[in-house]
């Protein structure tokens, strides 16, 4: 793949990481912080994937496999985080 093909996605990914970081710090709601954290994760995956697509001879399966693993782990972490957020709200939702 030529740089002009993958570079837009690599640049896009850096913007996603920055946006997610900003949301994680400034959003007061736990639900939205979890969403922002997911965005950082997907930005990192996209950066990794775009860079690994930069080779000339075909696509590299190793990063792809690692990213799929990452997506599944991100989902399970999100499910746990959302469960904790709901439990936190049930207990009154105040900071300890």
């Amino acid at each position: 793949m030529t740089p002009v093909e993958w570079l837009p996605f690599a640049i896009c990914a850096t913007a996603l990481i920055g946006l997610g970081l900003y949301g994680l710090i400034t959003q007061p709601l736990l639900l939205r912080r979890i969403i922002a954290f997911n965005m950082i994760g997907s930005g990192i995956f996209l950066l990794f994937g775009a860079l690994s697509a930069s080779e000339t001879a075909g696509t590299d399966p190793v990063p792809q496999a690692m990213i799929i693993t990452g997506i599944v782990v991100a989902l399970s972490a999100t499910a746990l985080a959302l469960g904790l957020a709901v439990a936190h709200a049930r207990e009154g939702g105040r900071d300890p």
């Binding site: 002009v4 993958w6 896009c12 469960g83």
Partner: protein, 310 residues
């Protein structure tokens, strides 16, 4: 031409991401995040990573979307007090920090040395792995360790979700009761979608052996079929102490671990002999897909919750 498309797609992804992060309402953020996941799946297709695109669409957009929507409903019903917004100074500093991180990554991107990648090494040994899909070969054969530990992470997450159940709710049907109009749109949807999803899920698992697809993508689509059938009221939610469900959850990691230990007796943990690699990999893939479907569904249903207390 593809340059224009890729650039346009990147701009749209960033715009939707900005709507997710900066938008006023939490519900809008959730909806935009689902759209964002589908657009990112499209980006993966453009990067010729079809396996990842399937995983992103099914897991990143689909299941994460359902999870977020269900959690949003629960959180709204609980009416927890909203914490105060951070001060202007903190927001400005956060903005500066985020811009600095993005610029730093861009600077690193330019300086990155060229690298050959591992595709040739994978292609060389692909005939010994028992699959023609190089991504499946990496997931189940070369890097079996990662995948085994990943299924254990899924188990740990499920245990974590279950531990926040209130004592009086344990053990019960997973999640909350869903009320659906018997002749409404959702109920109709629940009749049409699960059979289609079952076929697509089974196909994706089978296809993983030779073309894009695999246990994770197919298992997720199977999970989606189950989740839709339960959410539309056509099936009861499984109880958290249901033996069949627990057996399904444990089957994949247990089988994979068994293969690993058998390999150990022949010299290497998780060694897959090339002679029986094709059927063995298919067996691993099917049991993993069943376990992933069960675990992801249970993660989406959540902890047992009888009726919300006021």
């Amino acid at each position: 031409m593809s340059v224009v498309f890729n650039t346009l797609l990147s701009v749209i992804i960033v715009a939707v991401a900005a709507a997710v992060v900066l938008g006023r309402q939490a519900f809008m953020a959730v909806v935009f995040f689902i759209a964002y996941g589908l657009l990112v799946a499209l980006a993966w297709l453009r990067l010729e990573a079809t396996n990842v695109a399937l995983a992103e669409a099914a897991i990143g957009a689909g299941l994460t979307g359902i999870l977020l929507l269900m959690s949003w409903t629960r959180l709204r019903a609980l009416q927890a007090p909203a914490p105060p917004r951070p001060t202007r100074l903190i927001r400005m500093l956060a903005g500066l920090g985020a811009v600095a991180v993005t610029l730093g990554l861009l600077a690193a991107l330019i300086r990155l040395p060229a690298h050959p990648g591992l595709q040739n090494a994978v292609a060389e040994r692909l005939p010994l792995t028992g699959t023609e899909n190089p991504v499946t070969a990496v997931l189940l054969n070369f890097r079996g360790w990662d995948t085994l530990l990943e299924t254990l992470v899924l188990l740990a997450a499920l245990l974590g979700v279950w531990t926040v159940t209130r004592d009086e709710d344990w053990p019960g049907p997973a999640g909350r009761r869903h009320r659906v109009l018997p002749d409404g749109v959702l109920a109709q949807f629940g009749r049409v979608l699960p059979p289609v999803a079952l076929v697509i899920g089974a196909y994706l698992i089978w296809a993983g052996g030779h073309q894009p697809g695999g246990a994770f993508q197919g298992g997720t689509v199977l999970a989606a079929a189950w989740v839709v059938a339960v959410m539309t009221g056509h099936l009861p939610a499984p109880r958290v102490d249901d033996r069949w469900m627990r057996a399904a959850v444990l089957s994949g990691p247990a089988f994979f671990l068994g293969v690993g230990v058998t390999g150990l007796s022949m010299g290497t943990f998780l060694w897959i002999p090339p002679v029986i690699a094709t059927p063995l990999l298919m067996a691993i893939e099917i049991t993993l897909a069943v376990a992933i479907a069960a675990t992801l569904s249970m993660l989406v249903f959540g902890a047992p919750e009888r009726e919300e207390t006021p």
